[in-house]
Symmetry: C2
Subunit: 424 residues, 2 copies
């Protein structure tokens, strides 16, 4: 049977060395051009394959796809077809782009119209996000934050190793890579102040996360078992959970972060399918104490995905500030979804679920400025000689991620966001 | 100028004594009948005025409404027309139903088709809820909970009188009155247990709230000032924020309630417009310490709305367990929305914003079983002789609310929800 993840596959579309988008990836996104307001595409090398065109010209005939399924501003309807159907589409596209297939390759007119150079498109938010949940599933991150703000000897809360702790976030302010954010205003109160003051956050931070997107609904009242959980997950993106640490500190007890987070979260525009991530599965950490039955799982549910963060000061070169990996998750995505629904909570097509900040074990693998510069005590040096404790106005934060195995690199592209000064 | 809130107005539609729906109310909802899958309606007395029919038959001509605006499963598009347009529609309907207007009254055929007896309709969820936020704005509730779980001497957190504390909730599990809920399963850990156990919550609770619904968007990065906030608010509903206290206790530190809340929240199906609530404005409490500038407001922004909660054991009469009032809010809805967006967070048409549990000053006005039965130490007596510390399987919880002034009662109807036993 044709295996779209076969490392031997090559495409007739040129894929430059080091590209995130070889034929083994084929992530889905929504793009805009001078001529098309919004449509679905697939990334291949330095091109976007226009799925609207491909469907209209019969290349997907026989798959039983609804007409116009790609001619929409969001992928929700497409991913809502379910994993077996969307997998079929990815396989069909792989076959079409495979070096020995002449169907599109040898049709010069169609090929020219179907493959759009990436520099000619603008990538949009691919999903109309319904509900958004953020987890807190990296042990090192929870330990670091607990050490800083509570007690290094009891850094993890008593529930942390029993529950994939999560909380609800704001769906409306999830934006695509390239959309600038505005430094948020808010209330803060330092320990030495008697009352809170109002103004721009002084401690703007990123959080290096990944997020999965669901493609299937359950009925309210019905739990999703851990064995079925991945059938509800279409794919993943890079996720920058912007945070204002001073606002967070003052507001978050007892009901959790609110304005410290909901001013923006940025995602990478290409959704890498769970199918494409299959080769990168690895075992997760030993979970001790033993978890409750509904959280027990079989097989490899962690993923080996390298994650890097860069800061680009205004007019200067970018500087890498962190190298982490998605494999550092204590709780995996199947556990997260099983937990989320064990009380009967219903999920929908287009929900987004953040991992929580992903910090590795070494200080250069931490996933936030809070941890990297350790509450401002260890400023990071930039390429232009300046230092950062937190993110400054006009800085651009970039996150990139990829898995690499058997000579194949499956990447996420990047999420890149510039910070504009606060509104007066 | 015609004033639809004029207490002298009477309708040619019979409005029984004590009805929540006189001509001065005219709340909007979405209903279903044997012949119509979903359409918008207005409540008048014991009837639903079918707005799909009313528009199609020309009674709203001249208002410039889009065709089919009421022939939809949700009111989002309608309320998104903005407050001045939706106010115009309410005024026009008021004029049509006013006792001296013969346009519909004297058209027997149309009248029969336009007015549907309430017992012949099923009321649906009126809004496709986008984001949902829950506040925590009743001082007595925050004090009660702080006293029970922390320290009666420092029951309010230091931020509570500076910030309208809020957190994000789950939009997907907001359901209409009449939809039963299932007792949620989850992790709990009692103080005398070494590790958590899994099973149905033993402390299922209601929370008596109201919620407002937004009808206008702001751009990400742009705050909504407190003076403009009410222009973004279409109307209000009763809101039962179901809670599982044992699950909440174990999970909520440090990121707030999650599975303890997201299994269901129930709302009353009729949205009472902010216009109809005008007569019930009253001053709010003196806020001391003084709030920051962006939270300072002018005019009366609290509302005098009586709120009652009843428990109906299976097969028995209902028993009133609480009489509270929306006027007990420390933070008003304009302050909540100004705070929510002061960091640039964007809101959308169809967002829902819960008030938080509304507890009065006396023990019989508390808004949750946790407070009414004071952590199970003061069980409540039901009409059938049984006692309640929390909500039992097959109990039905009912909330009702209304304002009353100058002989006019503007009511919300009810939110009524039966609890089914947990899934095995």
């Amino acid at each position: 049977m044709y295996n779209p993840n076969n490392p031997e596959l090559k495409s007739w579309v040129e894929v430059p060395e080091g590209s995130d988008f070889p034929i083994q990836n084929l992530p889905f996104g929504v793009f805009k051009t001078e001529y098309l307001e919004a449509g679905a595409g697939i990334a291949i090398g330095d091109y976007v394959l226009d799925l609207v065109f491909i469907q209209e010209h019969g290349y997907l005939d026989g798959l039983g796809l609804p007409n116009g399924i790609f001619n929409q501003p969001f992928l929700n309807d497409f991913i809502g077809l379910g994993r077996s159907k969307t997998s079929e589409v990815r396989t069909k596209i792989s076959q079409l782009l495979e070096e020995n297939c002449g169907d599109l390759r040898d049709n010069k007119a169609d090929k020219t119209l179907a493959l759009i150079p990436m520099e000619e498109v603008e990538m949009l938010l691919p999903i109309q996000v319904r509900d958004y949940t953020d987890f807190y599933s990296s042990e090192q991150h929870a330990f670091n934050v607990g050490s800083m703000f509570r007690d290094p000897k009891n850094a993890l809360m008593p529930n942390w190793k029993h529950i994939p702790v999560g909380y609800h976030g704001r769906a409306s302010s999830i934006i695509a890579s390239g959309t600038p954010i505005t430094r948020p205003n808010g209330q803060t109160k330092e320990d030495n102040q008697d009352s809170p003051v109002f103004g721009p956050t002084k401690r703007l931070d990123f959080e290096l996360e990944m997020a999965f997107i669901t493609c299937k609904s359950n009925e309210l009242g019905e739990a999703i078992t851990i064995d079925n959980a991945e059938d509800y997950i279409f794919g993943m993106v890079l996720f920058n959970d912007w945070s204002a640490r001073d606002i967070q500190k003052w507001e978050y007890v007892p009901l959790g972060p609110f304005l410290a987070k909901n001013f923006a979260s940025s995602i990478s525009p290409w959704i890498v399918t769970l199918d494409a991530l299959e080769p990168f599965r690895i075992p997760g950490p030993q979970q001790d104490p033993e978890v409750l039955d509904y959280l027990k799982y079989e097989g490899d549910k962690n993923f080996d995905i390298n994650l890097d963060v860069f800061i680009e000061p205004d007019g200067a070169e970018e500087t890498k500030v962190s190298s982490s990996n998605f494999k550092f998750m204590y709780w995996n995505i199947a556990q997260q979804l099983a937990h989320h629904t064990v009380n009967g909570c219903n999920i929908n097509v287009g929900d987004m679920y953040g991992s929580g900040t992903i910090s590795g074990e070494t200080p250069d693998s931490y996933g936030s400025m809070l941890e990297l510069a350790w509450k401002g005590t260890k400023p990071l040096k930039m390429s232009d000689g300046s230092e950062r404790k937190f993110i400054l106005d006009n800085d651009t934060v970039i996150m990139r991620g990829y898995g690499e195995k058997n000579g194949v690199r499956v990447g996420f592209g990047e999420v890149k966001t510039k910070v504009k000064p606060a509104k007066q």
